[in-house]
Amino acid sequence: MSFAERVNINRRRILIAGVSATGGLICGLPALAAGPDAANAERQLGHFIEIAGDGRIIIGSNQPEIGQGVSTALPMLIAEELDVDWSRVTVRQMPLGIVKTADEFTWKYGGQGVGGSTGLTGNFDYMRQVGAKARRLLIRAAALRQDLPEDQCATRPGVVVCGPMGTTVPYEELITEAAALGTIADDVPLKQAKDYRIVGKAQTGVGVRDIVTGQARYGIDTREPNMRYAVIARSPYLNGTPQSVDDTGARQVPGVLDVFEILGPKPDEPYAILASGVAVVATSTWAAIKGREALKIEWNKGPNANDSSAAFWRENEEMLRGKGQVVLDDGDFDTALASAETVVEARYRIPFVNHAPLEPQNCYAHVTEGRCHIIAPTQMPGGASRSAHAVTGIPREHISVDITRVGGGFGRRLTNDYVAEATMISKQTGWPIKLQWTREDDVKHDFYRPAGLHHLRAGVDRQGRVVAWTQRLASASKYFRRPNVPDDELWTAELYPDDFPRRMVENLRLEYFNHRVGVPRGSWRAPAHTANAFVVQSFVDEIAHATGQSPLELRIALLGDERELDYSNHGGPTFNPGRLTRLLRFVAREIDYKRSRPAGRGVGLATHFTFGGYAAHAIEVSVADGGELTIERIVAAIDCGFAVNPSAVHAQLEGGTVDGLSTALGLEITVKDGQIVQSNFHDYPLMRLAQVPAAFETHILPYGDQPTGVGEMGIPSAAPALTNAIFAATGKRIRTLPIAQQLSA
């Protein structure tokens, strides 16, 4: 599903609220009832709000929490419009809510799913209306009770204030009457931003106390009665299958209960699960792991037995010698290039990378006669329900999905392959099953970020203006093996045509070559933006240096002033390059970009528009004589429109920066003899605290009153700022990621 489609899921619920005869969305069914307070339906307003007798407000969070702070931000919006003190609010995670209609399913609690940084944008109005309508019902209840007109009532946090005497009634005394008043169909007026008490102010993340006391429950922490533990020995060969299995040793391990094959998809089929293999079921995680170690499996190496990274890069080069699919052709690139004063050219290599969430994949599934219960760390609970249905045939209205806290999403938990696996094992054995992936499983089996070879050429005129630009990309498209994506649309996952510098360079051509390989690919945080921002922001620097221009001034000249350009990809409908200019000037000034640094020290800049949000980085590095790189200082700035929770916005900018740098510094997934080479953190080395400078400043530059997302915006400009700084410090241009040992060479 594209990110645009996911955002549309959130929009669809607006239509449902108007249509639903059962009053599904706004009233009636107690959504919080999935939790321990099922008995308290009469104290609940709609699906999201419960007011306890002691005045505590329990607010439901309908989205998966993957660390992006959505379970703080959305309840903040409800609490603000409801008019309660944030300190009295407890947030409860809601399960998947779907309702069967005549021929399909619709959302019960609004669209549920996180990805593409849409959690806030898709729910900003919706959640405020949830709070505002609930407040209106409380006012109505107080007014009725005192026989006063509603317009003589107002609220202060937690109380309704009525009439000329200013009589106050606390919410907890009105809730049962308010809950009986039915629904409000039409939208009600919302607060002005200047009146916000909670929103727009830094709030501590919901659940932080549970996290620091070890009480937070992730998918891996699921413990259910009679639960057994399972691991799967998956084919180490891409598209390989078990040829023979000797499980004698495995069955002798104390605690091992069962061993059987798991059938994966055929080589050209969509990935319901990632690989074929052999499941081991046991009475504990360790017994299952030991049982798996004792298996003796011969593998059919499958059709990709000769896949290798060496072949991949060689074949990318060969492809680029030919003509690809021209997917964008503005102006007259050939003529403009031919007439240019200077032609600049470069190739960049972007590797496959692993999602590596710190909580490895896992899922609890219990398949019984006609029912299925899933407990999963997922970004897409609706997809989890579909996956379980596809495995079992059980009607989706009988499949319940509880969403745990997620130990890192990064796009890995968009696919519910681990849900399908756990469901298969429960269906086969009849037991409640917790399926656990080890770190090795997680590194060796993934929907990796696509890899590709980018070839860029630009023509620059005598005045230093970029008059022609082409990006030619040979890559392993993310859409490979997705259902319903024809070959000539595989490029749409890899190139976003309306990205910078389109419409800023008049003659621009994008050309694509799809490279079929066995490595599975999927959405990694900020999908194609990490690759494209790296190559484009590096190339702009190369153009500047080749033509004697300042990298800062050239960017400003290209980006120009504020204006809305069409933007057809996710994050549109418009893109305002002037907002990047603003950020760039800011970070350049903060880091004193224009001051020259001594040899071995340098500053780099980069800026990028990602899914509706704007960010820029200025990074200062030093490189010692032996090639040792030190990141000395980072200045990062984000324009996310209106920052609902500034603490979380800073956090996402910090975290996104570290993610971009970590990936660029040392991360790559390689293939040899049809197998993934890496296996754990010793050969897939995530960045550590010691590599992050203490001089690391993040800034929010506000713009308007609508929020954008923030989960992915902080990544794309980090890596090119780093390599641009390395060039400034050393004259060495990094064109292949990861940087790894290139500076010591």
């Binding site: 932080v208 909580e359 890192g408 770190r439």
Partner: protein
């Protein structure tokens, strides 16, 4: 053969496979799921506990080596409702994002501060090597400094 040891002040006995890592005994047998599994090869530190007061990564530590020892997990760090200053500093600094690594970070930081009550940035860099995939390192660093100051002030 039964292996007996203390967890958060209580004596426990384990009768299972002797090479079971302490991590899995804590999580699967004792239901103490605050200590997390991240890698299984002591690279990430999500499994950090205290064994006889020393920070140890429990994922590759066979329970047979824990006989007679005293283990403290994240669940045993606070004293009732009174959080440890490091836990308090983590809350005040709004440190966690997904939060999965943070129990291990806290256990490592608590023991580190016992050895380095007034740590420099270099001390922190050299000693705190737990992984955080979400990149909360800047806030971890600040929270460690805040906890150090708090502990200095209260003379703990």
């Amino acid at each position: 053969m039964s292996i007996a040891f203390k967890v958060n002040g209580q004596t426990v006995r384990f009768d299972g496979l002797q090479d079971t890592p302490l991590l899995w005994v804590l999580r699967d047998e004792l239901g103490l799921t605050g200590t997390k599994y991240g890698c299984g090869i002591s690279q990430c530190g999500a499994c950090t506990v205290h064994v006889d007061g020393r920070a140890q990564r429990s994922c590759a530590l066979p329970v047979s080596q824990i006989a007679g020892r005293a283990v403290v997990t994240i669940e045993g760090l606070a004293e009732g409702d009174a959080l440890h200053p490091v836990q308090q500093a983590w809350i005040e600094g709004d440190v966690p994002q997904c939060g999965y690594c943070q129990a291990g970070q806290i256990m490592a930081a608590v023991e580190f501060l016992e050895r380095y009550p007034e740590p420099s940035d270099d001390d922190i860099d050299a000693n705190l090597s737990n992984l955080c995939r979400c990149g909360t390192y800047p806030r971890i660093r600040k929270a460690v400094r805040r906890a150090a100051r708090q502990q200095q002030r209260s003379g703990s």
